[in-house]
């Protein structure tokens, strides 16, 4: 009877999405060809080319900023908050209505499992617009003033393409700003579908402009003199470059950058749930998560037991077709990222850590990496210090709460942390001492529109989400409301 119990491929239908052979830029409410070259976006699960996408030139970016400025001056900044709210509510509703289409497209372009795009990304995207729609006419209660900044230039990463778009666009628009947004070059498709949603919602032209491209396009946005605000999510390296580029200007900046989060498991933790949390912390979204729990700090007295349970659990993870509803871990987003993950993993082995990967068959085509755990890792190892941004967990041990705090904080990053213990007072004391912008206790990787997110130290500055997320898009009260 053994092996009869098999999961069926349960692929979500691709028929709900209509991918065009080529895409232009979305400027002033219309799709245009752009003046630059173009690039290809591929399905990382199959390496199939999905579409040709325009690469916005400096002139294109300038045009987009001009459109955003016009829309800001003539329409959006003059509109009442209640009316802005109605547009955002419309967008939220259309996202809910076209949710399956967005989820499938996201999984095709990004490689993430459909159950994540469908059950996590897209619902939170809709909720984010819904939440910030509500703020548009309530800014006077939020405590950050009511005057928008103007044109926001926004550059987002490939790990949560649509979700990062929502985190950027929803608060910007709610506060009365207009935006020029650049999606990542490997994942432009859902942003372009979002542009279509803006058209369906009759959003005034120029309020949202989507320009696709790579690093040069991003630089053009960030350094454009008529951009009042720069919001960036991505690597710490690029974040630092942006901070230098805007030096001496009046641009307001928020940066949400890398992380190397410690997930700390005490001996009195609810172990079965902690194992789920460890798995979710590092293998959710293939580990392409800036706040991933990539360093497991486990108390020595339970280390063996936790590792045994973790490996047993990892063996049940299903790696494969992102569109299969049974898939737990999808494809690595790009060949480049896969090479980086492989390189760091090899360094981990070379430096003496013990490598174990879940036994699983990887598809022949596409970019894949088996869920992997390194034990015997010390603070000095590169895999304990550098962000791998993949399904690779480094395991360290500790003996006392103080040692756990020291190790957890011993990093230039400070985005997130996890604590697992049944003791409430210990959770709070650990939370107080951890230098991280988000601390999850007995859970991990939870996101909600009402909850602010962002890092300490080199993980960036500013917060996205919640009431605090408004601050980055409003003029400080002390400097008055005049432009």
């Amino acid at each position: 009877m053994s092996n009869v119990f098999e999961y069926a491929p349960a692929p979500e239908s691709r028929a709900v999405v209509d991918i065009k052979p080529s895409y232009g830029l979305f400027i002033n409410g219309e799709f245009t060809d752009g003046r630059g070259t173009s690039f290809k976006t591929v399905n990382p699960a199959t390496e199939e080319v999905l579409a040709e996408v325009a690469e916005a030139s400096d002139t294109d970016v300038d045009e987009a900023v001009k459109a955003a400025r016009r829309a800001y001056t003539r329409v959006w900044s003059r509109m009442s908050g209640a009316e802005r709210a109605k547009y955002l509510y419309r967008i939220a509703r259309i996202i809910q209505e076209r949710g399956r289409e967005l989820a499938v497209l996201e999984s095709i372009d990004n490689g993430k499992p459909i159950k994540e795009s469908r059950d996590v990304d897209v619902p939170i995207v809709a909720a984010h617009f819904f939440y910030y729609a509500g703020w548009a006419d309530k800014l006077k209660y939020a405590g950050y003033g009511e005057t928008p900044l103007g044109v926001a230039g926004q550059v987002i990463p490939w790990n949560f393409p649509l979700l990062m778009l929502a985190w950027k666009i929803a608060p910007a628009l709610a506060c009365g700003n207009t935006v020029v947004l650049k999606p990542a070059e490997t994942t432009p498709l859902t942003a372009l579908l979002f542009a279509e949603i803006c058209q369906q919602a009759d959003l005034p032209p120029g309020v949202v402009n989507i320009v696709t491209g790579a690093g040069d396009t991003g630089r053009a946005i960030v350094s454009h003199p008529d951009v009042d605000k720069v919001a960036f999510t991505g690597s710490t390296e690029v974040g630092k470059a942006i901070a230098r580029a805007v030096a001496g200007s009046d641009k307001k900046v928020t940066l949400e950058l890398g992380g190397k989060a410690a997930n700390i498991v005490f001996d009195d933790a609810p172990l079965d749930q902690a194992v789920e949390g460890i798995v979710n912390g590092i293998f959710f979204n293939q580990g392409h998560v800036c706040c991933a729990g990539s360093r497991l700090l486990v108390q020595e007295s339970v280390a063996d037991e936790v590792m045994a349970r973790l490996k047993r659990r990892m063996a049940t993870l299903r790696v494969g077709d992102p569109l299969d509803k049974n898939t737990d871990v999808g494809a690595i987003n790009s060949a480049e990222q896969l090479a980086k993950i492989r390189e760091l993993s090899e360094i981990g082995e070379a430096e003496g850590a013990e490598r174990w990967s879940a036994p699983c068959e990887l598809p022949a085509n596409g970019y894949w990496f088996a869920p992997t755990v390194f034990t015997g890792v010390s603070q000095a190892h590169r895999i304990a210090r550098e962000e791998i941004f993949g399904p690779v967990l480094s395991v360290l041990t500790f003996r006392t709460p103080s040692e756990a705090v020291e190790k957890a904080n011993n990093t230039p990053f400070g985005l997130s942390a996890g604590v697992w213990t049944d003791k409430g007072s210990r959770i709070l004391s650990m939370a107080n001492r951890l230098r991280a912008g988000v601390v999850w206790a007995n859970t991990f990787n939870k996101f909600d529109p009402t909850s602010p997110f962002g890092g300490y130290k080199e993980s960036g500055y500013g917060r996205e989400g919640g009431r605090h997320g408004l601050e980055g898009y409003l003029k400080p009260i002390t400097t008055g409301g005049d432009r």
Binding site: S2, F5, Y7, A8, G277, N442, T443
Partner: protein, 309 residues
């Protein structure tokens, strides 16, 4: 482990259960979909795991005979349809059930120990058990003393289970299998379910079972998840396998398959066997039969085409 306090120290030293995380995990397992061939196999397996149950004040010998016939031949129109694991009845109906079932291989399970409340003197509970075993019961489904458990008299609960297990012994040296019902709807917390599971396993129960079916909520996926984790961990520590039986509230094939997926992912294939996993149910069987027919005929069936016993 000879005192309440030593048992308490052990049981309360088990890792706690985080409710939110546990429920999220159970819900996540519920989204798996299985192959059509596996589904056909899973439906037959689920039929073979059913303890077809009637536990009503209005039960009669006629009703029990009808139920036993159905257990042996769930789908009279299809000889390839397997029999259920057992019929589950009150002790006074054991002889009738046994007579009908004969050597069909379908077991007779009897609920004993003043089911469903368990509120009776110990000698009465033991007599109840012995009567059922003497009448031919293959399996005894006992209830624990929830009052004792909730007030921390763990030793009483432990010893009661151990004594009932002794009462399951037959003169020939064999023994009826003992299932221990927790009534998880009354224990309320997952921590309690985990502790009760370990207590029952240490006292010698062959199976741990969620509910009597008389209290809501009865079986749920998260409660069953906790119990499956307990039997898995118990085997890791002692080498002994203990079975799990969710009972009450499992009505559809879809539900049953969710449970089987959970068994497979938490405990592995060793438990995918009627000796180690059972469903306590009555209406579930007809839904399994309907889905079984759908798989062979390719069209949806209706309740009129299945017997109502």
């Amino acid at each position: 482990m000879r005192s309440d306090s030593s048992l308490r120290r052990f049981l309360h030293g088990l890792p706690g259960v985080d409710q939110v995380g546990c429920e999220a995990r159970a819900a996540g397992l519920g989204t798996r979909s299985i192959k059509t061939t596996s589904k056909a196999w899973a439906i037959d397996l689920a039929i073979r795991m059913v303890d077809l149950t009637t536990l009503e004040g209005q039960d009669t010998h006629g009703k029990v005979r009808a139920l036993a016939s159905k257990a042996m031949r769930p789908d009279p129109a299809d000889p390839t349809c397997p029999a259920t694991a057992a019929v589950c009845v009150y002790p006074d109906m054991v002889a009738t059930a046994k007579q009908t079932l004969g050597d069909s291989g379908v077991h007779v399970a009897a609920v004993a120990t003043a089911f469903p409340s368990g509120r009776a003197a110990m000698d009465i509970k033991l007599a109840d058990t012995r009567d059922a075993v003497e009448a031919g019961a293959d399996e005894i489904d006992m209830v624990i003393d929830r009052g004792a458990f909730l007030s921390g008299r763990y030793l009483d609960v432990h010893d009661e289970i151990a004594q009932v297990r002794e009462a399951c012994a037959r003169p020939d040296g064999t023994s009826a299998h003992l299932k221990v019902i927790f009534e998880t709807g009354e224990l309320q917390t997952y921590d309690n379910v985990r502790r009760a599971s370990w207590l029952a396993m240490m006292a010698g129960g062959h199976f741990i079972k969620t509910s009597t079916g008389k209290v809501q909520p009865a079986a749920t996926l998260p409660v069953t998840l906790i119990m499956l984790e307990a039997v898995r961990d118990f085997r890791d520590q002692t080498g002994q396998m203990v079975g799990v039986k969710p009972a009450g509230g499992i009505k559809t094939t879809k539900d049953a398959i969710k449970y089987l997926v959970m068994v497979n992912e938490i405990c592995g294939e060793d438990w995918l066997d009627p000796d180690w996993f059972r469903f306590g149910a009555s209406t579930l069987l007809n839904d399994l039969l309907m889905q079984r027919t759908k798989m062979t005929t390719g069209r949806y069936s209706g309740p009129d085409y299945f017997t109502l016993d």
